[in-house]
Amino acid sequence: MNLAIRTTATLPADLVTVAGERAVCDPRGVLYFPELALLAVSDLHLEKGSSLARRGALIPPYDTAATLARLQAVIVDYAPRIVISLGDSFHDGEGASRLHDEFRERLETLISGRDWFWIAGNHDPDAPADLPGETVRELAIASLVFRHEPSKGQAAGEVAGHLHPCARIVQRGRSVRRRCFAGDGARMIMPAFGAYTGSLNVLDRAYSGLFNRESLVAYMMGKDRIFALPGAMLRAG
């Protein structure tokens, strides 16, 4: 009966289920499975700034610092036993080798003492250079399967990233667009976590066939809470 249980202990967040597994949609953009002590995060796109700088766009080199600081905060809050980074953890194949020593150390500290999985993504198909953790193509735990790109058609228990979902509503003549978790109870597609990651509307054709449209919910990320909005309220574009 609980539409939205707000866990007052940490931050208010929404409790959802993915193929029967209970999970918390955290407004900071991570998914936490309390029974499994498992934290999933997707599309970190670390070193995106330097990746673009190589091609002449000198955007501020602080994205890795910003992304890691936010990641550290959620890991400290949940103290998960397992962390799964759902792919595109680095913006390109050499991203990990460009990592500043300071950030490498910070990442190593986060990894140590827990099971850390790097799921291979399209941006980073190979294991990140000189970093601990295990690199896998996909990972099955309990009734869940973690992979980077959502597989075609409906797939119960799949937790994926890649698409960078966002949702848009119009209220009082104004359009509000936010990153979101997109789920229909069977599958969950996670928002991109990286500081420089853009997003794609869940109503875009790239998502067609992935969800049961009647039960699609966009868990839109607010400043300090999640706003759960049914598919019927969402706007394209």
Binding site: K48, G56, I59, P60, I169, Q171, R172, D184, Y196
Partner: protein, 916 residues
């Protein structure tokens, strides 16, 4: 001899037109026109005007000149006369001799204007038999023609500021411009007020360093501070200042009034600190002067032609308290259209244009040809309207700004300005440009949309009568523009930072730029200028062993060329017209563009007003907003546009305050407005000219505070933001505010009147200037406005690339949005040069901070508090605005919460399968 005029607006059809009877002139006797000109004039029965000969004399003496003249005074010919006479006497090119470079560069803000000049300069050049080639170079010029222009340059090149930036960034720039003698800036007053003007000023500085004795000629409408434009035209570095006597043949302080007929005189002003950029006088230091001398171009002012006949509509109807539609006056406007040949109707915004057009057609019983023209309409559509107008096929045209409009305005015999003009000079320019017969008065009617606008129209009319000008002061050169220019300079050839700094500070907008800031901008161009020096290896420009900054990769120059310019549009979608229900598939006519954020608020089936049609929104397809024929719905939405809203000028604001304070002047106002002010005097108080009136009163279950600073909507919005923060801190529990051009209302739960009376806080403390410190800073950092300005700065500075049409929205995943960059930069390096540029832009632009600061200092100790038990007559207009304004950008969370709560309330449990 005879006179002729080359009117700006009349160029297309009346290129050389006799305006008065022949009359001998002696002042210009010393200046000789070359023989072919004299013969040609004689054949036509014409003669040059005094200011044209005067400009020729000064240019020949090596001087740069600013010519201020009204429309129809032959400004353009004056500008080209030095060029044409010089080219006429140039020796023929010998066989085997290389091609000569560009002799004269003409720069106009409008592509269309350049094309028009080419057509109209060509004819006399041919008739006189001058061996002169004239060509345009705009964004539309085909590549093969550009290529050829590089190999065989024309004598006169007509172009735009963006094209100049491209030309000077080319590797052959120095050679291409080595023969340049003159550069002519048309419509200089409109070029200099924007970042476009900053880029152009830097381009001019570049040209001057290619050709030190280059002469610049500026053509301008009347402005408040001509000296700003005079400085803009010449180099500002102190090393080439020469305080010589006036080099004009007539000497200083002379007037040649009356030479060219009544209502028309050229006044030659005394010039104290004249520069002489010619090599003859160059290099001589202005010795001994303690004050730094700011060099200026010479000035020739031609007093206006016939004064326009302006009146304010004294309506039979009731003038509304608030609003901007002027709907009440439609029958009277329509009647005026019927009584005139061609009426030009100006409005302030595109939304108002759409509304007025719709209303006029509703009233159009005679089916008169009435057209619509604004900047968002499809270009083809605009050109058709302009052509119909030139052919005198239209009876009326509803338009936004003069610059949106093409060149030839047909026989306009009435200008109607709907809504207040917001500035005296704006009004004068709009009316002036509509009239191209400078010896005949133009006729204009002002239609105030509400009662305050009546006061404002009256003030503008009085200002026009006395010739008062309130063009905005020029701003300091923007740093994002400088970054673009520095990269462009490096794209042309490696540069020395010391030389470039000298050159940049010779451009008037950058004369005050300090060296450390300049170096930071160079650093930004090279590696992004971040405190974290991690991009050294990706540098775009790098210092060579010889100490020159050089582009690291040819790709950098290619990227630069694609992103040149300072006009950054809001993301827009094409409006494509299809059959109903036919969202997919292709084809259909493009009607114009709407801003993306507007299209995003529409739902399929919604009706909205655009291009004079009621359209039905079908959906968004890639970068297009697909529509079909609408109608039948009662609710029709009018798109809003971000730009185009000008705040009330400081001058007019002061005049309005003066009028309020002086009952003797009220008799010039319509009776209903006079009654309104009289009632205010009885029930509350009318503030003295320098005072700030603050009224407090209860209404329903709220308490209100209304202040009347008359400082324009932007400054009032900023003030509203800051006041509510302060009232919140004083526990007055404010709930919201609304701002108009004239006043500001704040409402809350507590009786603010009682709080002020008890000194908790005092009004003096509430309105203290210190609000512009920390409060402003704190609010600004979170403001959506700052994000919007950052995007513009980032694009201009070359940090992110322009978004081109055709780039699909799915690209969002890949590109990094300016908002995300802003967030990261703000938390990691808030003092970055680009953040600094953004804040400067915001303070000068959307926030109008300097005006707010002036106001706060003006009203110190002069606040009049009036506690009332009910709303006052003067407060009605702003109170009517409450609830009309949409929630601003910061309320997004609230909107989300509303939507989510709505869902919870309606659906209760079991919203979705995903929840327990």
């Amino acid at each position: 001899m005879f006179q002729f005029s080359l009117g700006l607006a009349a160029r297309s059809r009346y290129l050389w037109r006799v305006t008065a009877k022949p009359r001998p002139t002696d002042d210009s006797a010393e200046i000789r026109l070359p023989e072919p000109f004299v013969r040609w004039f004689a054949a036509k029965g014409w003669a040059p005007r005094a200011h044209q000969m005067e400009l020729l004399a000064r240019a020949q003496a090596g001087q740069s000149v600013l010519l201020i003249a009204p429309t129809g005074a032959g400004k353009t010919l004056a500008g080209f006369l030095p060029t044409l006479t010089e080219l006429a006497e140039r020796p023929k090119r010998r066989p085997g001799e290389g091609h000569r470079g560009i002799h004269t560069l003409y720069i106009s803000p409008l592509k269309a204007l350049a094309v028009d000049i080419e057509r109209n300069l060509g004819k006399p050049v041919e008739e006189i038999g001058l061996p002169v080639t004239i060509e345009t170079r705009t964004g539309d010029t085909p590549a093969h023609k550009r290529q050829r222009q590089k190999l065989v340059p024309p004598d006169i090149l007509l172009t735009t500021p963006e094209q100049l930036a491209l030309l000077i960034a080319a590797s052959d720039a120095r050679r291409f411009f080595e023969d340049l003698r003159y550069v002519i800036f048309d419509e200089l007053h409109s070029l200099v007020t924007s970042k476009r003007g900053h880029l152009l000023a830097l381009g001019l500085a570049r040209l001057r360093s290619f050709v030190p004795d280059l002469r610049a000629i500026g053509l301008s409408a009347t402005v408040a501070e001509p000296d700003e434009l005079r400085r803009w035209l010449v180099g500002q570095s102190s090393s080439n200042v020469t305080p010589t006597p006036d080099p004009s043949p007539q000497g200083g302080g002379k007037s040649c009034g009356g030479v060219s007929g009544k209502n028309f005189q050229a006044v030659l002003l005394a010039e104290e600190a004249e520069t002489s950029p010619s090599s003859l006088r160059g290099g001589v230091r202005g010795g001994g002067s303690a004050q730094p001398i700011q060099p200026m171009a010479g000035l020739i002012t031609v007093a206006g032609g016939a004064k326009p006949e302006i009146s304010i509509l004294d309506s039979r109807e009731r003038v509304p308290w608030a609003g901007h539609s002027a709907r009440y006056a439609i029958p009277e406007i329509y009647e005026a259209i019927r009584q005139h040949k061609t009426t030009l109707l100006f409005v302030n915004t595109r939304s108002q244009a759409e509304l007025l057009f719709q209303e006029l057609w509703r009233a159009n019983e005679d089916a008169l040809p009435i057209a619509l023209h604004h900047g968002s309409l499809d270009v083809g559509q605009r050109r058709r309207v302009e052509k119909a107008m030139a052919d005198n096929a239209l009876r009326a045209i509803v338009a936004t700004s003069t610059l949106d409009l093409g060149i030839d305005w047909g026989d306009v015999d009435l200008v109607v300005h709907v809504g207040a003009p917001k500035g005296a000079s704006r009004l004068a320019q709009r009316i002036g440009r509509a009239n191209h017969r400078m010896d005949e008065p133009s006729k204009a009617v002002l239609i105030p949309a509400n009662r305050f606008e009546v006061l404002e129209c009256r003030a503008a009319l009085d200002a026009n009568y006395i010739g008062a000008q309130d063009t905005p002061p020029l701003l300091e050169g923007a740093l994002d523009v400088l970054a673009q220019h520095i990269l462009g300079t490096a794209c042309a050839a490696p540069f020395d930072a010391d030389f470039l700094y000298e050159e940049v500070t010779s451009a008037a907008p950058y004369a005050g730029l300090d060296r450390p800031t300049f170096d930071r901008v160079v650093d930004f161009v090279a590696t992004g200028g971040y405190a974290l020096k991690s991009y050294e290896r990706y540098a775009r420009i790098r210092k060579t062993k010889e100490g020159l900054w050089r582009v690291t990769h040819p790709r950098i120059a290619q990227q630069y060329r694609l992103n040149i310019g300072t006009i950054v549009e809001m993301p827009e979608l094409n409006v494509r017209y299809v059959r109903q229900g036919k969202v997919t598939g292709y084809g259909g006519r493009v009607l114009g563009k709407v801003e993306e954020y507007f299209a995003e608020t529409l739902r399929p089936g919604d009706n909205f007003l655009f291009a004079g049609k009621v359209l039905r929104f079908e959906g968004i397809r890639e970068n297009e907003c697909v529509v079909s024929s609408g109608g039948g719905k009662t609710q029709i939405i009018v798109p809003s546009y971000a730009g185009g809203k000008f705040p009330l000028s400081t001058y007019l604001a002061d005049q309005v305050r003066a009028m309020l304070a002086d009952p003797d002047r009220w008799h010039t106002l319509p009776e209903q407005v006079e009654d309104w002010l009289r009632l205010q005097k009885e029930k509350s108080v009318l503030p003295k000219r320098g005072d700030l009136l603050v009224e407090t009163f209860p209404r329903a279950d709220r308490h209100y505070m209304v202040a009347y600073p008359f400082e324009g909507r932007l400054a009032h919005q900023t003030l509203g933001m800051l006041l509510t923060r302060r009232l919140e801190r004083a526990n007055a529990r404010p709930l919201g505010f609304v701002a108009t051009d004239y006043s500001l209302a704040v409402w809350g739960l507590d009786d603010m009147g009682a709080l002020f009376a008890a000194g908790k806080p005092t009004l003096g403390a509430l309105f203290d200037e210190d609000m512009l410190g920390d409060d402003l800073e704190a609010w600004l950092n979170d403001s959506w406005m700052l994000k919007r300005m950052f995007r513009t700065c980032a694009v201009i500075a070359g940090l992110i690339e322009k978004r081109f049409p055709g780039q699909e929205k799915t690209g969002r995943q890949v590109t990094v949005s300016a908002d995300l960059i802003y967030d990261v930069l703000r938390s990691h390096e808030p003092d970055h040069i680009l953040m600094q540029a953004t804040r400067a832009d915001a303070a000068a632009g959307l926030l109008d901070v300097s005006r707010l600061a002036d106001m706060l200092s003006r009203i110190r100790g002069r606040i009049v508090h009036k506690r009332l038990d009910r709303i006052s007559p003067l407060a009605v207009p702003v109170m009517l605005e409450i609830g009309k304004e949409s929630v601003n950008g910061e309320a997004n969370e609230t909107l989300l919460m509303e939507a989510a709560d709505l869902v919870e309330e309606a659906m209760g449990a079991g919203l979705a399968g995903g929840s327990e």
